[in-house]
């Protein structure tokens, strides 16, 4: 598959997040994806963009650039919220067999489970830029 790319821009509000999710899903509808892999991409969007909207205030907007080829999907999130490197967030893990589920803190755990690489930096415009690569094979 030749690389397919989409740009999703959303205001950093709950309604913006809902609309951005719909835009992403419309793009994913146009790409042939294994259902489990597609779910991982939707999950990454909701966890990362959702975190930005809920915890990144003051933040005005989020931009996602998603590129998909045969091997992987690369998702780059750019936002103007407070500086936050999710790679430094630790402490939560998936429960071991027999352990009860946790109520919170699972978002980044789930993203880390599915992403083969996570890169973070601050741009010259003082934006957060987070890039995830999610294998599709």
């Amino acid at each position: 598959m030749a690389g397919r790319e989409a740009v999703v821009r959303l205001p950093a509000t709950m309604s913006g997040l809902a609309a951005g999710g719909e835009t992403l899903r419309a793009f994913l509808d146009s790409v042939e994806l294994d259902p489990a892999r597609r779910y991982q991409l939707e999950l990454a969007f909701d966890e990362i963009a959702g975190n930005i909207v809920r915890h990144g205030q003051p933040v005005s907007s989020v931009e996602l650039v998603i590129t998909i080829d045969d091997a992987e999907a690369v998702m780059t999130f750019d936002d103007d919220g407070v500086a936050f490197d999710p790679r430094t967030r630790s402490g939560t893990r998936l429960p071991a067999p027999g352990e009860p589920p946790q109520a919170g803190g699972l978002g980044l755990v789930l993203v880390r489970r599915y992403a083969s690489r996570i890169e973070y930096g601050r741009t010259g415009q003082h934006h957060n830029r987070l890039t995830l690569a999610i294998p599709l094979k």
Partner: protein, 116 residues
């Protein structure tokens, strides 16, 4: 996200959810979901057959409710869980706190027996 409720008897409610338990979806129903169950310690069977997505926010809503209900001698069960949603729920071991059942009858039996 849509949420419908049906009274099944003393302290037992059926909740039918439809849509996505993602960040915006949970935001739209969480207050009502918790208010329906927690203050009166109502157990619930939750029809998940029309829920095609769950993220950590949805998991948090369900687990938080289950924890609060446990203190009130009540419990939750889910039924009709779709495949991809089921895989995520299994990953986070939700079955350790919330019954995940194959049918509504099984779900009702599970909550009734857990509070008996």
């Amino acid at each position: 996200m849509r949420m419908d409720t049906e009274d099944l008897g003393p302290r037992l409610i059926k909740i039918t959810l439809a849509g996505r338990l993602d960040t915006p979806g949970v935001d739209s129903i969480e207050t009502r979901f918790l208010a329906t169950l927690v203050p009166n310690g109502n157990s619930a069977v939750i029809d998940m057959s029309q829920v095609d997505f769950i993220s950590s926010m949805g998991i948090r809503m369900l687990v938080s409710a289950a924890r609060s209900l446990k203190v009130r001698q009540a419990s939750l069960s889910l039924f009709g869980v779709q495949e991809q949603v089921s895989q995520i729920l299994e990953l986070v071991s939700i079955g350790q706190m919330i019954h995940v059942c194959a049918s509504e009858a099984e779900a009702q039996s599970a909550v009734r027996s857990s509070v008996a």
